[in-house]
């Protein structure tokens, strides 16, 4: 009797231990049909419609409906934050990026990723840069499906016609874009002006960091230093060679201006390289040259991907199905299928770079520029839960400078620094 009781206790303990060892992931076959719907919040990059088109196979596997809801970048960030912070749990999978991973991880709004992923999903196959961005305090929180750094894209034909070489440093950059500027036929340059941590701040930051700027010294903001002013002045000067209206440009207007043939040279996120080569949408396909950004500009590393909501997945089965969706949508197989479908901008895995289909479709100059830029690619923003607010306040001040409603650069940066100090104080007082 006693032996039986000890045996029972050991069995229960073993079961409990086994359950603990496998984390919250339930056995797959137990969860088929147990989760009626998973909702995914996303923003419309090329990967998302592709997943939406192919989600039927996932739905059949789990007998679960997948509802992918798409919003613009800022709306997506705001909506997912609202859902997470209020504990609404309306979404099981969040679309996350470099700007909000710290915030979501610190507040435990997303679950550590690797505990929940299926065994065959290979985390180490992701490019180091993507993994670094998806990780906060040594824990991975999202599975990237897109990312990269910066690259300089220029019209080879226009440079050749003027006998110019691609600029190697910031002095040359100004001279080259001035020489290429021939409005209204073609403008020398274009840049993001619209406010936002992922908009004008994202493109201004390499100038600021490249000139030696640092965000903070302890808790004191230092982006309003002389270097901050110098970087802003340089960014403002370049705007003279940009098309009218560029003071409020989003990345989309920059790219459309470039591939519409109205802009001669840009420094932008490298994912847009294949956009310029898309013959169905680009007037300049085959005429584009690629190179690392001029010295001393570093390359702004970023990554976008899917994370598993904490509140949105109250049951083990919900966690399992959500995790499997993340695994399915970021698998090696999915990346290979995207490449086959001609989606060449959204990749995150090393295996994709080795994929013969990828190599056959992508301009070799572009791949060379990616490899040459890789050593100077880093996460340049302030990695803090407060970044979205600090970055957005700074973005507003920059937009005022770029559109002329604020002519005193130092004052604009001081205002942003004051707001950052206040945000830090407020966060400390909570």
């Amino acid at each position: 009797m006693k032996l039986k009781s000890i045996g029972l206790q050991v069995s229960i303990a073993a079961l409990a231990l086994a359950a603990f060892a496998t984390g919250a992931r339930a056995a797959d076959n137990e969860c088929v049909g147990k989760v009626p719907t998973i909702r995914v919040i996303a923003q419309p990059i090329l990967t998302i419609p592709f997943l939406d088109k192919n989600k039927g196979e996932f739905e059949t596997k789990w007998n679960t409906k997948v509802d992918i809801q798409q919003f613009g970048e800022n709306e997506r960030r705001a909506k997912s934050r609202l859902d997470a912070s209020q504990g609404a749990g309306a979404y099981q999978v969040y679309y996350i990026d470099e700007a909000n991973v710290a915030e979501f991880a610190t507040n435990k709004w997303v679950l550590p990723l690797l505990d929940l992923m299926p065994k065959e999903w290979d985390w180490n196959d992701f490019l180091e840069g993507r993994r670094a961005v998806a990780t906060y305090k040594d824990v991975a929180y999202f599975a990237p499906f897109e990312g990269g750094g910066d690259v300089m894209m220029y019209r080879k034909d226009l440079l050749a016609a003027k006998g110019l070489q691609p600029p190697k440093n910031l002095d040359e950059l100004k001279k080259v874009v001035a020489a290429l500027n021939d409005p209204p036929n073609v403008y020398g340059w274009s840049e993001r002006g619209r406010r936002g941590s992922g908009m004008n701040v994202w493109r201004w930051t390499p100038f600021f960091r490249g000139m030696g700027g640092q965000w903070f010294s302890g808790d004191k903001p230092t982006f309003n230093s002389d270097i901050g002013v110098k970087a802003t002045q340089y960014y403002l000067d370049l705007l003279k060679f940009a098309p009218p209206g560029s003071g409020t440009n989003t990345w989309s207007e920059v790219i459309e201006g470039f591939r519409g043939g109205q802009v001669a040279l840009i420094v932008e996120s490298d994912v847009f390289g294949p956009w310029a080569e898309d013959k169905t949408k680009s007037r300049i396909a085959g005429k584009v040259g690629y190179a690392p950004p001029p010295e001393p500009l570093p390359s702004a590393g970023f990554a976008h991907g899917f994370a598993i909501s904490t509140k949105g997945n109250p049951t083990d089965c919900s966690k399992t199905v959500a995790a499997d969706f993340v695994a399915w949508s970021t698998s090696k197989d999915m990346e290979a299928r995207k490449v086959k479908a001609g989606i060449l901008s959204d990749f995150a895995r090393k295996s994709t770079l080795e994929n013969p289909d990828f190599k056959a479709q992508v301009n070799p100059d572009y791949i060379k520029a990616l490899l040459d830029t890789a050593p100077k690619t880093d996460l340049l923003i302030w990695k803090s839960p407060l970044w979205p607010e600090v970055g957005d306040d700074l973005g507003l001040q920059l937009e005022e400078v770029l559109t002329g409603s604020q002519t005193d650069i130092k004052q604009a940066l001081d205002d942003a620094a004051d707001q950052a100090s206040e945000a830090i104080k407020r966060a400390a007082g909570q």
């Binding site: 002006g193 619209r194 009218p244 003071g247 607010e389 559109t403 409603s405 909570q430």
Partner: protein
């Protein structure tokens, strides 16, 4: 019975009128109170705390959020922009409605008038977000069609939405395009309902066409015009989606109205829900006060 008590019938009638009014108005009013009280109380409670979407937990902070408003440059700007927006869009829409309504009434007859009315109603049927996106593209200095008329006379493209001086008015044009044209149709239909004799009498006295309308038909339509003004004033307070789609409050803060600023603060990047709630309370108080005063005045204008 009635002969014995002559007061009974009027009192009975009065009671029955009051009773019917209570019966008719009671349920909708109760529903209105039920629907509007919880969010109002919720906003008030939030406004006195320091709730943030960035972090869990909050505490009571008294009037700190309201005190902060006194020194908030962006809030002062938002109040000014909201006021300008109200004045420009309300005055613009009603002016367009009156001018266009009278013009069509005087110059177009028969079936052509119906076709024009149909065309004028189309803009209001467009969702605000769609209208905003279409016009944003039309205003584009690089690709938009608005650059062509200027190009013909050698004027360089205008950055309608990127210049702090023009952006608010460029967005207001879209609002007036939607509402002014719709109101023009209403105006036209109102003019058609007026008796012909006063207008004919004025014409016999050699009044000009515009004189006839300025001195005769518009005064006759005063109550309807005042209602139109009120409807547009309330509607203009809810232009968040149009401004958000076209400029997102920019360039800088040149088109940032109070509701847009509250959204940016509370739901946007900052996540400062309590401060945003305090702004909403301010907006509620200001609009209630303004509309109460205007309503009182309008009763005098209507007499």
């Amino acid at each position: 019975m009635n002969a014995a008590n002559p007061r009974a019938e009027p009192f009975g009638k009065l009671w029955s009128h009051v009773g019917f009014a209570r019966l008719a108005l009671g349920p909708p009013l109760a529903l209105l109170v039920l629907m509007s009280l919880p969010p109002t109380i919720g906003a008030l409670l939030l406004a006195f705390r320091n709730v943030s979407l960035m972090s869990p937990g909050s505490r009571w902070v008294g009037f700190a959020n309201f005190a902060r408003m006194l020194t908030d440059r962006r809030l002062h700007n938002a109040l000014r922009i909201s006021l300008v927006w109200e004045v420009v869009t309300v005055a613009g829409a009603v002016a367009v409605a009156v001018l266009l309504g009278v013009l069509i009434f005087e110059t177009v007859k028969g079936r052509a008038r119906d076709v024009i009315c149909l065309a004028l109603i189309l803009p209001i049927l467009l969702p605000r977000v769609s209208a905003g996106l279409i016009w944003r593209f039309m205003y584009s200095p690089l690709m938009g069609i608005m650059k062509y008329p200027l190009q013909l006379v050698g004027v360089p493209p205008v950055e309608y939405l990127s210049q702090p001086g023009t952006a608010l008015y460029a967005v207001a044009v879209v609002d007036i395009w939607q509402w002014g044209l719709f109101f023009a149709v209403i105006m036209l239909k109102l003019l058609e309902t007026l008796p012909a004799s006063p207008l004919e009498a004025a014409r016999l006295d050699y009044a000009s066409t515009w004189g006839v309308h300025w001195f005769v038909s518009l005064p006759m339509l005063r109550p309807a015009l005042i209602t139109m003004l009120f409807v547009k004033a309330v509607e203009s307070l809810r232009s968040f989606d149009l401004i958000y789609t076209m400029t997102n409050g920019g360039p800088g803060i040149a088109t940032e109205t109070l509701d847009l600023y509250a959204y940016q603060t509370g739901i946007g990047m900052s996540g400062r829900i309590s401060y945003a709630a305090a702004m909403s309370v301010l907006l509620l108080i200001l609009s209630t006060l303004a509309f109460s005063v205007l309503w009182k005045r309008s009763q005098r204008w209507s007499e």
